[in-house]
Amino acid sequence: MNIKSIYTKNIFIIVLFLISLTVEAEHAGPMDLTLGGRLKVDAIYNADGVGGIRTSKSDLAFSPGSIPIGNTGRNSFDANLRESRVWATLTLPLANDALSTYIEFDFFDTKKDSLGRTHIANEPRMRHLYSSFKNITIGKTYTTFANLSAFPEINDANGPVGNLLIRHELIRYNIPTSWGETFLALEKGESSFTSAIGSSFQVNDDQLPDIIGKIEFSETWGNISAAIMLREINANHRIISGVNDKKWGAAFSASGKIYFPKQDNLRFTISYGNVLGKYVSFNAFNDAAIDNTGKINLIEILSAHIAYQHWWTTTLRTSLVFGAGHANQDASIVPQTANKLFTSSHVNLLWSPIQKFTVGLEWLHGFRELENGNDGHLDRLQFSALYKF
C-alpha cells in the first residue's frame, strides 16, 4: 500500500468518526458500532493459465478479458485468502431515523514486493465506504444499475460473464413503495476506450456523472428489477491534439431472483446498450472505440447470465450458471484482435454444515472470441472454504 493510499483511507475513516462523534454529542444518542467479516480460503487450479504472469489477479478471480487465445500450455495452482473481508457499521439514532455508515475491506490489492512477487502481498483494499440517512446514500458501493440478489452463489470472486458488479462513488435516492422500491442515482463516470491499435485505456475526461434509474418489484416469490442508465462518454485530445469528442448513450437492464419450492431459486440479469462497457463483465469490453481522427464510436453490448440453484438437502446445494456477452462494434475502427464474444459456465457443489460456514468445489469454463475469429478457453477448478464472523 502506498503512502497516498494509506493517507486517503485513514482520512476518510477519521472524518467519518469525527462526524459521528459530533452528531452524537449534539443529539446525545447511543452510537452502535458493529464489526464483522468473513474468512475465505481459495485453492485454484487453472487448466490453462491466464494473464501471463503467475500472480496476476486473473489467476485468482475470473476475468473474461484474460482468457488466453490459443493454448498457452501453462497450468497453474494458487491458494490465497484475498477474498476474506472485514467490515464495520456505525449507526447513530438521529431525528427519528438513523445515520448509518458502512466500511468494508478485502485483501485483493496486489502490489508487488521488492522481488516483484505479488502472491505474498495481501494488502487491504477498500470495497465499500458509504453513509445512509433516511432515503439518501452517499459514498462508494455497488452501482444502482445492479440487482445484487441476482448474483449467484459461486466460489469465484467476480462471478459469471454478464454480471453487473462494479463499485464506485455515487449519490443515491431511494423511494420505498408498497410494491418495492424506486432508485435514482448519480454515479462516477469513468470511460474506458479501445484505441485504433487495440489497447485499452481509461481517461479522466468525464464531465458528467452517469445517471441511473431503477424500479424493483419485491414479493414473497422473489424480486424483479428494471434499470436504465444514461452516460456521456468523453475524450479530450486523446488521439489527436485539439480533437475533443463526446457522445451520449443509454443502457437497459432487467434482473431478478425468483424462488421455487424449498430454497431453489433462479437468478438472472440481461443487459443491452451502447454504454455498458465499464459496468458489465468486469470491463471485458470497453465503452467506446476511438478512431484515427480522434472520434468516439460507442460499442453496443448485449450480455446476460442465468443461474439456477438447487438444494439437494437443507445444507447441500448446487448452482448451475451460464453467462454470455457480445459486442457489436465497427470492424473498420476496432482492430481484429478486439474482443467480440465471451461466455462462462459454472457448476458447483456447496455444503454448509452450519450457516456461518460453507465449503465447496466449483468448476468454471470460460470462452473468449476475437473479431478475427480466433478464440481461447479456460478451465478452472476452485475449492473454497468460507466462514462468516
Binding site: D32, T34, G36, W87, T89, P93, A98, S100, Y102, E104, H128, S132, T141, Y142, L148, S149, F151, E153, L165, S218, T220, W221, G222, Y259, K262, Q263, N265, T314, S352, Q355, K356, T358, K388
Partner: protein, 146 residues
Amino acid sequence: MLVLIIAANTLLFANDDEKKLETGKTLLQAIHSDEIRNIMRQLNSLVYEREYTELELRKINRKQIELLVNEAAALANIASNLPNIPSFKNMDNESQLAFNAMAKQLQNISGELEKAIENNHQDEIDAAYLKLQNTCNTCHTLFREE
C-alpha cells in the same frame, strides 16, 4: 441479524428429518400460511447472499419481518375464530385449550414484534422474532396430522 436468519432456517427446515414441516399437513388447514413460509424462506436465504453489505441485509431483513408481522397477525386473527370450524370441534377439550393458548400467544408476540420494529430496536426485534419462531414451531409440531 444472524440470529434472525438462523431462526428462520430453523423454522423452515425444522424437523426436516421427520419430514413434518415439509410434507406433513397441518391438522387445522385454516391456519396454514404459504405467505409466511415464503417470507421465512427469503429470510433464510439472506445468510447465503455473498454481495449484500451488512446494512443492506438489515434493510431487507427489516422489510421481511414487517411482512411477517402482518401475516402473523392475520394468522392469529384466523386462529381466534377457529372454534367455528368443524375440524376444531372434532378436537378433544385439552387440544382445544392448548390451541387457543397458542393462538393467543401468537397474537401477543405479533404485537410485540410490531412494537419492536416501530421502536427500531434491533435487540428487541431479535428477541421477539425468536419468540415468534418458537411459537410457530411448537404449534406446527403439536397440531399436525399423523
